[in-house]
């Protein structure tokens, strides 16, 4: 589904990614771990097409297409979803309007009719309940005045609404208390199927107790320095990153 080859990326003239290689297949859950500043969030932003980042070398293929040639909105319409580490507050744009517009843009791309009002409201209710979100939250402006935990839940709520092929969760566990973490993780698990894939970007092993990855990668100084199974995360939890970075 996703093939990243020798990816180099810069932000404000500083090279952050220095040759990342990664292959993600349908049905797989990948965890990308690593110390602060290793380039985890840059990888997520580059995949979603944030204009601040510039790819200088390498390639990304998504469903056989050149992802780097695509606008952020087309990446989304092709099935890529980024759960933001810092979701943006947008006063004056209601969650309902935002979700309806987003869904309909997705449907238009697939040459489908806009969603009916009844179906839309039912979908909103179902997905809201999946995440245990207050009905008040979805009637407010996008993320405005949401707590840290509510913002993260709202990201997974949007993911549930859009139902992407490839979800990239950037530090979704940060800022969540243990109860919220359980709810979010169970939401992600329920959305995981044989057809779609997930990349979890996280600093801690904690999230991986709830979402079991098939592969764990350690990113350090812009490169993946070690890949392994779920056990690698446990080892990292015990020993930290130091033994890998400076063996």
């Amino acid at each position: 589904m996703l093939t990243i080859k020798n990816l180099h990326a810069i932000v404000e003239e500083q090279e952050i990614l220095k040759g990342v290689n990664l292959v993600v297949n349908p049905g797989e859950i990948h965890a990308v771990m690593g110390p602060n500043g290793s380039g985890k969030s840059t990888l997520a932003s580059v995949l979603a097409g944030h204009p601040k980042f510039e790819v200088t070398r390498g390639s990304i293929e998504f469903k056989g297409q050149d992802l780097l040639e695509m606008e952020p909105e087309d990446r989304s319409r092709e099935g890529l979803f980024l759960s933001f580490q810092y979701p943006v507050e947008i006063p004056g744009v209601s969650m309902v309007n935002f979700m309806r517009s987003a869904l309909n843009e997705q449907r238009k791309y697939r040459k489908e009719e806009p969603i009916s009002a009844t179906d839309f409201l039912k979908l909103m209710r179902d997905k809201r309940q999946l995440l245990g979100m207050d009905s008040q939250l979805v009637s407010r402006s996008v993320n405005e005045g949401f707590s840290g935990g509510e913002k993260k839940k709202n990201e997974i709520f949007q993911m549930a609404m859009i139902n992407p092929l490839l979800a990239i969760l950037d530090e979704t566990d940060s800022g969540l208390d243990i109860d919220a973490l359980r709810v979010v993780a169970s939401g992600v698990n329920k959305l995981q199927t044989k057809e779609n894939a997930t990349i979890l970007i996280t600093h801690y092993q904690r999230l991986l107790e709830y979402i079991k990855p098939d592969f764990v990668h350690v990113l350090s100084d812009g490169k993946i320095i070690k890949s392994g199974g779920a056990d690698l995360a446990l080892e990292l939890e015990k020993k930290g990153y130091e033994w890998l970075i400076n063996p």
């Binding site: 979603a48 097409g49 944030h50 204009p51 606008e71 952020p72 909105e73 990446r75 989304s76 319409r77 979803f81 980024l82 933001f84 979701p87 943006v88 947008i90 006063p91 004056g92 744009v93 309007n97 935002f98 517009s101 987003a102 869904l103 843009e105 997705q106 791309y109 402006s141 996008v142 949007q158 859009i162």
Partner: protein, 446 residues
Amino acid sequence: MIEQQYIDLFQQFRSEIDSNSVSGMNKHRDSAFAKFKQIGFPTSKLEDYKHSNIARQFDAEFGLNLRNIEIPVNPYETFKCDVPNLNTFTYFLINDRFYNQVDQKEGMPENVFVGSMRQFAEEHPDVFEKHYAKIADNEENGLVAYNTMFAQDGFVVYVPKNVEIEKPLQLINILSSGVDLNVNRRILIIAEENAHVKLLVCDHTVDEVNFVVTQVTEIFADKSAQVDVYELEENSTKVTRLNNLYSEQLDNSKVVTSSITLHNGYTRNNIRFRLLGEHAEAHAGGLAICDKEQHIDNFAFLDHSKPNCLSDELFKTVLNDKATGVFCGKILVEKDAQKTLAYQTNRNLLNSVNAQMFAKPQLEIYADDVKCSHGLTTGHLDEEALFYLRSRGMDKEEARLLLLVAFTSDVVELIRIPTLQDRLTQLIDKRFRGELMRCGSCNVCK
């Protein structure tokens, strides 16, 4: 001196001016004339007009319809309202004259007067005398003095004690002329004790000539009265609109105004609130969307002289192309006005490198137990928000439009007529899409 031609005109045509108006208005002309000769039009030498040289707007040959010659316009035929499905009592001013039209008595409470200023001045001379040219400031504002010299008619809303007009009133100002015209329009709103009224004023242009319009609106809200005045400007680029809105309030009253400019040429809004009773509330909103070489200058002055009052200002500007925007917000809290709450917010969005915004908050506080705040920002559309919306599949242009409309939403929410809120949001959306490059009813602007 630009003023001289108007001084000569006034002296030469004084008898025509008077004979085509009423004594209640005529009796104020001499003092206004004396003042005007002394201070003239505001120029950019005055601090409060630094970025708007008003005098220059009058530096051309304009006609004045002093003899009250009928303008061959039937507003019912030519005017397509941009705010349909809005159930209102509807009235027209053609230039500065009240357009005599069908009576709208059904549903209108008794003893209410809504209509021609000339008629009102004759039917209720005492009430008129008490308020006309009393609230607007003839002392410092040359535009008010000028307007008082030449205004011959206008629009009056008079709501007696304890009466509530539930259905909103709508006044539609139409500019129509075959030659360049100076229009001097007057509006008076009197809400007696515990009276309630909401008025929407729409400004439109139907002819492709230059207009310079002065408008003076006086609002008097007696104890516990509630007055809402929403102004919606959709004029052509050839219109200079010099708007002066003055409000005086007594105890427990509430006045809400909003000055919305969707399309214009050159606009200056002087908005002055005086809170003269305790526990009075004043809300002043403003929104302008300008492009090309349009000019918008919002000047708001909130004067707290009594304790326990609240004022809240919210002004927003969106500038494109080479448009210029100005905002000055003055709050004066006098020595006795303890427990005052006064808030001011001004947010401006620049969508072009050639657009310019001049903004200035000015707070003068002489009481020591008050809460006052002001916030001012001028910037560009939030790139992170734009990316966030796009990352969910929204088209870049759609996302941009959504954010622009969202930027205006809190000003729209000040309006206490839900159907008007909805309609206005649609109009704003159309405006940002470039579909409102001309007003709904005119074909002047291309």
